[in-house]
């Protein structure tokens, strides 16, 4: 099948679930026992869909609420931005709309992307679509839940340390984090600029890949966006029995610790078996700096965040707390506007950048980041095409189950490395553990999304319904 016809097929699949179907499904889901609370706002002006043109004409997509749209508020799930409608639109939204797709609604998230459960939304948590006592993951939990519950087939999310892949794994959908710079960040409210990247959720690899292809490409408004040609992303459906012949799948031992949830371990083992059956060579590899990734990440990300979030000062936009001095405006607007986790990370980030601690924390973290990147690149340079690991150490946990901040941070242990190294990564549903989805993670070298998606699609196809059983 040619690239063009693959894209047409994926687009046709998306168009089959139009805005009417999405709205109907939304009302059903919302009318359930407690509602998912996947969305913070919904665009009900359906009439403008009629004249939409393009390959995605009339296709509804959900947008994480930290991506600027000018039809609906962009709140980042923060009190401080309650009701804030962006005067401009993010490049990614503009691109999808230029293909005829329609913003269906803005999805719930951990405030400013800071969290792994969507519990840290100022407007209340999103619930897991399969079990309302559990979290959908985060921070893009609303987008993951919106796709998993069938309201929309595709959604935009954002990643800083796994915020697309982890909720995709928890909810049993496909989630892709592209190479750093592959997709424009213009209009994505920054959490940690050197790690942030817009990602996509889809019901299938092909549909998610199509979305990625449409939003990818250089943007003159983002100095960190890559000025490289966008390859065809949508993978072919394979008819031969050994489609992965010649492909080397790395199995990094640090991602399979003794302590790994046995159900997750078993599901991954099964996936490796299938990958072998499909012709791939599974090779044991080692990435020794992996254990340092979470500490490094939780220095770099808060440090950048402490600076990125300084603009939320109640002066030019957003909610201003009553005060009779400028210091009062800053302090009260920010303490009333930011939730506890955001304040915690700003404080942490402020601390590690103080001149006297900079070398001990921020500089060291950057050195560790360089080491992690070097290890990753070396691994791919030695012939490994993709790495395969669990996306998360456990399936979705219960709401309120994780209370210690650092334990919550450890939930990102398998995902933060890709953000630190700037490489593409994705999560694919590979099975269930006691009814809860388990995600398998693929990682590839920079700009090697097509190969990563090709392997993932082959596994997706071979697993078939098994992935959701």
């Amino acid at each position: 099948m040619s690239g063009a016809s693959l894209r047409m097929e994926a687009a046709a699949g998306l168009r089959a679930h139009g805005i009417g179907a999405a709205m109907a499904r939304y009302d059903v889901v919302r009318g359930g026992a407690d509602g998912l609370h996947a969305f913070l706002s919904i665009e009900r002006a359906v009439d403008r869909v009629a004249d939409a043109e393009g390959s995605l004409a009339g296709v509804p997509f959900a947008v994480k609420d930290n991506i600027a749209t000018h039809v609906l508020p962009t709140t980042c799930a923060s009190r401080l931005l309650e009701g804030y409608v962006s005067p401009y639109e993010a490049t990614v939204v503009q691109r999808l709309r230029s293909h005829g797709a329609v913003v269906f609604g803005k999805t719930n998230m951990d405030e400013f992307g800071m969290g792994s459960s969507t519990e840290h939304s100022a407007f209340g948590p999103t619930y897991h679509p399969l079990d309302p006592t559990r979290v959908p993951g985060g921070s893009s939990g609303g987008s993951a839940a919106a796709v998993a519950s069938g309201i929309v087939r595709v959604a935009l999310g954002s990643e800083t340390g796994g915020s697309v892949r982890q909720p995709a794994a928890f909810c049993g959908v496909v989630g892709i984090k592209p190479t750093y710079g592959r997709v424009s960040r213009y209009g994505l409210v920054a959490y940690a600029s050197s790690l942030d990247q817009v990602g996509v959720f889809g019901t299938t690899v092909a549909e998610a890949a199509l979305m990625l292809e449409l939003i990818a490409g250089h943007d003159p408004r983002d100095a960190t966006s890559l000025a490289v040609e966008v390859p065809s992303m949508v993978p072919a459906t394979r008819t031969d029995t050994r489609p992965l012949q010649g492909i080397v799948v790395g199995r990094p031992r640090e991602y399979f610790p003794e302590t790994l949830d046995s159900r997750v371990q078993a599901t991954c083992d099964r996936a490796f078996d299938i990958l072998r059956e499909l012709g791939a060579e599974v090779r044991d590899v080692s990435l020794p700096s992996t254990s340092l990734a979470v500490p490094a990440y939780y220095i770099i990300a808060p440090a950048e965040a402490s600076s990125n979030l300084a603009r939320f000062d109640g002066v030019r936009f957003g909610r201003r707390a009553a005060a009779d001095s400028i210091q009062g405006v800053y302090e009260h607007s920010r303490s009333a506007g930011f939730g506890r986790e955001v304040q915690r990370r700003i404080l942490l980030g402020t601390y590690v950048l103080i001149a006297g601690y900079y070398d001990a924390y921020y500089r060291r973290a950057q050195e560790v980041r360089a080491a992690i990147t070097r290890e990753m690149l070396a691994c791919f340079a030695e012939g490994v095409d993709v790495l395969f690991t669990p996306t998360t150490p456990t399936p979705a946990f219960r709401i309120g189950e994780v209370t210690d901040p650092y334990t919550m941070y450890l939930a990102d242990v398998f995902t933060v490395t890709a953000n630190l190294a700037g490489i593409p990564a994705m999560s694919l549903p590979i099975g269930r553990a006691e009814g809860l989805p388990v995600g398998g993670q693929f990682m590839a070298a920079r700009c090697e999304e097509p190969r990563m998606l090709q392997v993932a699609a082959a596994l997706e196809q071979a697993l078939g319904a098994e992935a959701h059983r």
Binding site: P87, A223, L226, V315, F317, L347, T373, Y406
Partner: protein, 88 residues
């Protein structure tokens, strides 16, 4: 502010986990991933901007085109006006 002592304690706890970095291998030429992108410059061409109007909708306090904040408490200047800040 009542939360501050509790948060300080949490931070100490979090930072203790970060101490593993102290013994991590040193890497020369540490970079962040921004460093891999070559510099792309913008041409010096004006694009019309009409955001002043749009800002009226989102600003907490705007009058006659200015954003307003409580009067800055500074020493009285020669004209009774406080001094401006200057980036140094």
């Amino acid at each position: 502010e009542a939360q501050l002592p509790a948060m300080a304690e949490e931070l100490t706890g979090i930072l203790r986990h970060m101490d593993v970095l102290r013994n991590a291998p040193r890497e020369a030429g540490a970079v962040n991933s921004v460093s891999i992108t070559p510099s792309v410059w913008r041409s010096d061409t004006i694009e019309p901007s009409d955001h002043a109007i749009a800002m009226e909708r989102v600003a907490p306090m705007m009058r006659e085109g200015f954003f307003l904040v409580p009067r800055l408490a500074t020493h009285e200047g020669p004209d009774g006006a406080p001094e401006p800040s200057v980036p140094s």
